[in-house]
């Protein structure tokens, strides 16, 4: 466990664990640096902080694509990544400065439910 519930990021991680106890990993990440503010994993060998660092680049590439398309009035709320047996969700806070990174087993957790939990918890990060 790498978080303290006295911070908004730690509280957010705790709330997500409470809502989705079967999750594989979760982290709250600083979107600029890619460093985790709080994280937790239920999967041995899986370091959500390392994965979050790579996913920060995924967010940045999408922001660059949006800038090229000149999509005014648009912003990224979340990015949903489907793997063979897992779903990864990146949910950005309203100010875009932080994001929640959640990993669930797609056979155990519905993507829509996981997305909804992230969306609710992202509100406390802004």
């Amino acid at each position: 466990m790498a978080y303290s519930t006295s911070s908004p990021a730690g509280q957010c991680v705790q709330n997500i664990i409470n809502a989705l106890p079967g999750l594989m990993a979760v982290a709250v990440v600083d979107a600029t640096s890619g460093m985790a503010l709080a994280s937790h994993t239920n999967t041995p060998g899986l370091n959500p902080e390392t994965a979050a660092a790579y996913n920060t680049e995924v967010v940045k590439q999408k922001q660059k694509a949006m800038a090229a398309l000149k999509l005014t009035g648009e912003r990224i709320d979340d990015i949903l990544i489907s793997l063979t047996n897992q779903s990864h969700i990146i949910n950005l806070s309203d100010d875009g400065k932080k994001f929640i990174y959640l990993v669930v087993n797609s056979r155990e957790t519905n993507l829509a439910i996981a997305r909804d939990v992230c969306r609710q918890e992202a509100e406390i990060l802004s």
Binding site: Q61, K62, G73, I76
Partner: protein, 150 residues
């Protein structure tokens, strides 16, 4: 989507740069064109659809209202996002997971990427959120790529 022009036809690029894929390029080009045709038939209201090589970020085929230069820029950024995700999976425990799709719902637009079976190329689809739901757009992509054998 801004930066638009009249609809562009399917535009496979035949000349390719140095990076040689594991499978023949012609096979990927042919499958890509087939997928784009299927997607256009299923979602005639789409904004843009393109097949992009992961390694180089080059468009294998594209259709939509984006100027070719802009489509190429967007393709490169999306290819970089896919490569980053694939790199993240290499440090993933077990190593058995493969990237299937990447969904990026915006307020008015939905952007979807779906990776072909051998992860050499992916399809980028952009639709208006008012026209198609995220679930339907995802299902169409999944189905047409299965139909095309990729």
């Amino acid at each position: 989507m801004s930066g638009t022009e009249a609809d562009q036809p399917l535009s496979p690029k035949k000349s390719r740069a140095a990076k040689a894929p594991a499978r023949p390029r012609e096979a990927a080009d042919s499958q890509a064109e087939k997928v784009l045709t299927f997607v256009r038939n299923e979602l005639p209201e789409l904004l843009a659809v393109a097949a992009v090589e992961v390694a180089s970020g080059q468009c294998l085929a594209s259709y939509g209202r984006l100027r070719p230069l802009l489509a190429a820029t967007v393709a490169e950024h999306h290819a970089a996002a896919v490569r980053q995700q694939q790199q993240a999976l290499r440090v993933w425990p077990g190593g058995a997971e493969q990237l299937t799709d990447l969904l990026m719902p915006l307020r008015r637009h939905l952007h979807l990427l779906r990776v072909a079976r051998h992860a050499e190329w992916f399809v980028y689809l952009a639709v208006k959120a008012d026209d198609v739901s995220l679930a339907l757009a995802r299902e169409v992509l999944r189905t047409v790529m299965k139909q095309a054998g990729c």
